[in-house]
Symmetry: D2
Subunit: 271 residues, 4 copies
């Protein structure tokens, strides 16, 4: 998506585009809800960890970090959160997580999970301080978040113990457990529920249909959000699976709220 915005700014985007990634339904499912489950699944499948009683540092408290933190807390882990953004940081506090710098808790934690979208969030200095057996993995962006290159030095021994699991052995015998060589963990070690795939595919298909059917001039050579009404339509299609029953506005209520009975129900920026 970043690429599209760059093209657009540079005046090089030659067709209209819809940024489906930022539609609410897709965001929540791909990030919050999907990660809440896949972090547990990935950790079990790779490192076979017992969650109860474990101390974990989660770096980043966006949707992915929120999902990972909530899941681990629910399973009995003690979670520390790191953040750069004071608003997300305050949310982490109110959700019951200690907000700490990684350097201040890295000696005591059993696991470090990156969810920032940033680079070099876990660096060699951190890993030098970790205790024996600490698990390090990345739920965020590509393979930039953990400085894995800093571990490819002569004094450290890599031992590949099974698929997606390497032990990095320090000269004193200390091991850290690196998952998926620092690449995105749930993409390599978990599955994506078909429900989530369905949401993504439906969103993409509706965006294409919208662009194809739109009257001349509605979309220029720019990047757009999926119209709120289509986002709501995707959601409504997926409610049936849950045997969920939506309430309909009465005429009087629709008028009072200044809404159409058939949506959209929120402004396009509502999250």
């Amino acid at each position: 998506v970043g690429g599209l915005h760059h093209l657009s700014k540079a005046g090089k985007l030659c067709v209209p585009a819809i940024n489906v990634n930022d539609s609410v339904t897709k965001q929540k499912f791909d990030n919050l809800y999907c990660c809440r489950e896949s972090i547990l699944d990935s950790l079990k499948k790779t490192a076979d960890i017992m969650f109860g009683g474990k101390q974990v540092a989660v770096c980043g408290y966006g949707e992915v970090g929120k999902g990972c933190s909530a899941a681990l807390k629910a399973m009995g882990s003690i979670v520390y959160v790191t953040e750069i953004d004071p608003i997300c940081a305050l949310q982490a506090c109110m959700d019951g997580f200690r907000l700490a710098k990684l350097g201040d808790v890295v000696r005591q934690v059993d696991m470090v999970i990156t969810c920032t979208g940033n680079k070099n969030v876990v660096v060699r200095e951190h890993m030098d301080l970790m205790k024996n057996g600490c698990v390090v993995c990345n739920m965020g962006r590509s393979n930039t978040e953990i400085d894995v290159n800093s571990l490819r030095t002569p004094e450290l021994v890599w031992q590949h113990v099974r698929a997606q699991v390497d032990h990095i052995i320090w000269p004193d015998g200390k091991r850290i457990v690196l998952l998926a060589e620092g690449r995105v963990l749930n993409l390599s070690s978990s599955t994506v529920p078909i429900y989530v795939l369905s949401i993504t595919a439906t969103t993409q298909a509706l965006a294409l249909i919208e662009l194809f059917n739109a009257p001349e001039g509605r979309y220029k050579q720019d990047v757009y959000l999926l119209p709120k009404k289509l986002d709501e339509y995707v959601a409504s299609l997926h409610l049936q699976t849950f045997d969920a029953h939506l309430t309909e506005l009465t005429d009087e209520q629709a008028k009072y709220m200044g809404l159409s009975k058939y949506g959209p129900f929120k402004s396009s920026h509502y999250r």
Copy 2:
């Protein structure tokens, strides 16, 4: 806030205005976090309810509804959610709540809580179906959500049992327990933590300072959101209470993310 937007659209707004109500920090605290606590407090102080095992219908799954539902679920209640917006509805499902129409569960629930901002969400037909002892209250907007007028009819007897608590008695002896005569419950029956007041007051003060100091032309006679950076500043000031330690971007990271080290860290529409 609605009023300001109306004035602005009508060209009658004669000064610039900042809509502090929609800043992230204020929203989350006034609605989600504050209601999560005040719903429990208000219900204990008025109706002295045991939460465990109770069945509750929460109407509306915005920030207020999310806060109320989470708190009651955590205390052992079984919560049903009603929604008109399929996106919020889907979130309720994924958070573990059954999504139902009020009419379909109103016979079985012990409590109905409105959090919609709409009018006539609970009407006489619903109340006729409620079981004896059902508690009805409003955590949403003013006193429109419950159709209290429909209860002021000759065949129903009102019995004022204590401050903020009325029993409405049906001809067959059935009673429903109406709290705060349908006005906003936590405003009448709970307190607002000073922490939340501090966030609100700080946000308002910073907005006024911003408008006063802004260079000519930055703000026209319109309604603006609080600049993201000020919103983040409010949050950062309130982190200290929690002994929370924010992480600072390195120069390399700031460059990678295309951010200033001192924020703003998110786009103005990020929630």
Copy 3:
């Protein structure tokens, strides 16, 4: 109850007695479930505390400590648990609480809650280390758990701020907030739900009826547990409120389990 056992051991109990306090139903409701709600209610009513983001030390992880810890965690507090019994301590760990000595966390916490049944769990040395504004209260036994006498010294000023709330002021201006003068908090500052009263009263009544109707010789001059079947009967009577539907064993299942279809379903020591 302790008194009865002492009398019995000393051969001075002149009638049979049933220890209703240790029946499962009463225990769970009076301690775990009731305290889970009343700790929140009591703290709101006295100190008007916002729970989110607060650091709390809970001393003791029996039923009362489990209830208090779970409730505060659910409301967004960060809870540290202290314990003397390694089995309860291990449960606290697996439930996601850091197990610490009070002395090691007392400087950082916003609240200390005692739930031990022991004496002098919070002593003057702890209170000297607390930070300004720290709240201290007792959910355990009578008024022994907090050494309140150690605060009645000339250099400390007591300021009574409202019912059940005293500020104790150190020479340097630091205040700690003592609730209910160290007596049991929920007894002085919360109410007992009628549901819980009903369970207690039913248990007592059934115990008396059992003693009255028992054939000669079933009970000697000793202290007995409520027969499991009566404990189960109390529970079954209280299920109706929740519209809860119990499953009945088939003849084949009862035979397979070696149980009567009508209970008791567990050994008398099952908890």
Copy 4:
């Protein structure tokens, strides 16, 4: 263990025995804490289920049922509980689960999990009513809980889709997903954390040492519980992993409680 008790009652037990299975530490870990994690792990590994929004019936609310219900609720499932014992049933209600008969919810649920230790808890009549795609599995005893034999009839087609997963196809095309052919799911589809194995092995070793070292006459040809003190010792050995710090009784406190400073801290029947 049942076997041992039968031998003992029949006078055929020719050596003393310690029932390590009923020691608190082993029970809680093997059942509650272990199942809380392994139910999620097993379901992901076999049926690759998304938990959020799913409706689940959990049959039985003992330690295993409590663990499974809590985990699924935490992951966003809506859980119904069935029970025969009114005391466990009341606990399920207070923990926020609807207590229902299986027959009353079996049409609507997406999953049925048995945790009863009983036989024929899920029978053909139930499975005839299940909706298409319903997952059926057993976390309880051996392979008695689901009447799998009733599915081995000519009109139903079995399709083995992968290890531990069979589709049973009804004449109208409806499929139910049977896991592990009704055998204990977590034994066949999950792993046991080494932490839990360590607790079990330590408990067994200490029991053997106790029997070997016990003075003549302490144990007769009967079945005993592990002495509380040894149970506590197992727990204390396993606290170190969590960096957990136990509090020690002062002399004054030990005297007040009538306890030794080194335990045992609870009566042998305390759970």
